[in-house]
């Protein structure tokens, strides 16, 4: 059964594009998946705590005690400025600016490895802001209830805020994943590997429109899949 499907796909593939291109396309797709997946993982690992810190030091959570409020203000201002800075630099330029940093972190600025650090650095601030906004949307009553129970900030975040925002955070992860698919294609311009790299090399540099169209089609399907699966996941965890 699956053999028959593969055969059909293969013959369909040959009809669209000469057989010599398919191994490269398969490899490119795999690279895109790896780039998106790994950078998504690091984006969430960095962006989620960053978003929580932004929220906890932001104006909605300012302490009544002046000393503490001042510390909060300082932390928030610095982190917020950094996040804004990274978000305001166009990704294309960020890619180029980060080349030395990328080399220092992963040893190369090329290929799959080389595109992951800039992807994370571009997406983490974005994800952090999404998280911060989600946390701000949590009903104030929930905070008050937790405070009245004598919860520490840690307990408040881990046992109340994050579970309450889980569906929103999953949705934010999906949005970020889709953005990362797009960004990862862009990194092809400076030799980042993946489907974007393929599209640039064949479609732009060698005027092979067919390869470019196939890569675009694969990207479209990829994004659709991420969105559909993501929506199901969000619905699964939503109890509102």
């Amino acid at each position: 059964m699956s053999g028959a499907i593969l055969q059909t796909a293969a013959s369909l593939g040959s009809a669209v594009l000469a057989n010599e291109y398919w191994p490269e396309i398969r490899e490119g797709t795999l690279d895109t998946l790896i780039m998106t997946g790994v950078s998504l993982l690091f984006t969430v690992l960095i962006g989620l705590p960053l978003g929580v810190v932004l929220f906890l030091t932001g104006w909605t959570q300012r302490s009544e005690r002046p000393g503490r409020a001042w510390v909060q203000w300082c932390v928030y201002s610095i982190l917020s400025a950094l996040v804004n800075l990274l978000r305001s630099v166009p990704f294309m330029i960020l890619l180029i600016l980060l080349i030395p940093a990328t080399r220092a972190i992963v040893g190369t600025s090329l290929g799959v490895q080389g595109s992951i650090p800039p992807l994370v650095i571009a997406a983490a601030p974005f994800f952090a802001r999404l998280t911060e906004n989600l946390l701000r949307e949590v009903d104030r009553g929930v905070f008050e209830a937790c405070r009245s129970m004598g919860a520490t900030t840690r307990q408040l975040v881990l046992w109340a805020l994050l579970p309450e925002t889980l569906p929103g955070i999953l949705a934010a992860i999906i949005v970020t994943a889709v953005a990362l698919v797009g960004y990862s294609a862009m990194s092809g311009v400076i030799g980042g590997g993946g489907l974007g790299d393929l599209a640039v090399r064949y479609g732009y540099q060698r005027f092979n429109t067919a390869v470019m169209l196939v890569t675009v089609a694969i990207l479209v399907v990829l994004v659709q899949l991420i969105q559909v699966l993501g929506d199901r996941l969000v619905a699964r965890f939503s109890h509102r």
Partner: protein
Amino acid sequence: MIELRKVDKQFHTAEGCVFALREVDLSVAGGDIYGIIGRSGAGKSTLLRILNLLERPTAGEVLIEEREITGLSGAGLRRLRQGIGMVFQNFNLLSSRTVYENVRLPLRIAGGLSSREESLRVAEALDLVGLTQQARRYPRQLSGGQRQRVGIARALANRPRLLLCDEATSALDPETTQSILSLLHDINRRLNLTIVLITHGMDVIRAVADRVAVLDHGRVVESGDVIDVFLSPSHRTTRALLAEIGMGAPGIATEVAQDANHHLQLWRLTCRGAIVATPILTAAAREHGLDIAVLQGSIGRIGDTPYAQLTVHITGADEQRQCHFRESLARADVHCERVS
């Protein structure tokens, strides 16, 4: 149980300093249901939150079980709060957690219990509010009254000595309100739990409270046993709040007094206890040869005490016999007071 001494709370706003509370003295005895009533903006919400330091007073002392709490912070404050339950108008449950997990949350926060002990405590609390069957459901799947029962179970899970209710029934329909109020009353008697509740409705006070304080513009203008405050309110805010539930409202008596050209004597007779059920009025009228028109009144029960408060017009006798009549009423513990 609770002692407030000269408590002030100031808020700094764009227009300057505003007093939310001004020189509030309050004393709540253990095991009482203490009602704090006032209109919105009177400061009752702030007052309630001062009892677990969700709001800090600007001045004054707050003693809970003879311990001054305003100096507490950090771990000490968290321990204090873990021993005080709180119920909210909008329930404030976690929508992402089941009923069971919501009730378990304060136990996890306080820590120190094994998961077996935790589940026993949760079961105990859910049993108390009659929601054992709903443990696996999510708040969204429950009615408003059931959600508030979860809120109460959550507040009781840590076996607190004090329960604070922040307009616990304001978001509920009348029937559900009654069931939640009788639940609170039941819990108070069974667990000997002190309850402080705030409300804007005198009907809530009448239904459950033992003692009441009336708050107006941040000051306690009247306080005492519910029945005393109901039958002889001294402040105009209290009277206005009572009028909203039909007690002492200007009614036909005022109209009669205004319409009458002749000199009219209106008296308010108040009595409470077993005497309410006796034919004291007709007996006295027959004895002194008087006619009595009852113009308005209210007869019922406040807490466990029956009461009657009638506004009457006495005719058909000279001043001396009327005087004898009132004296005989006074001997029977009926309080007489000239209205007009």
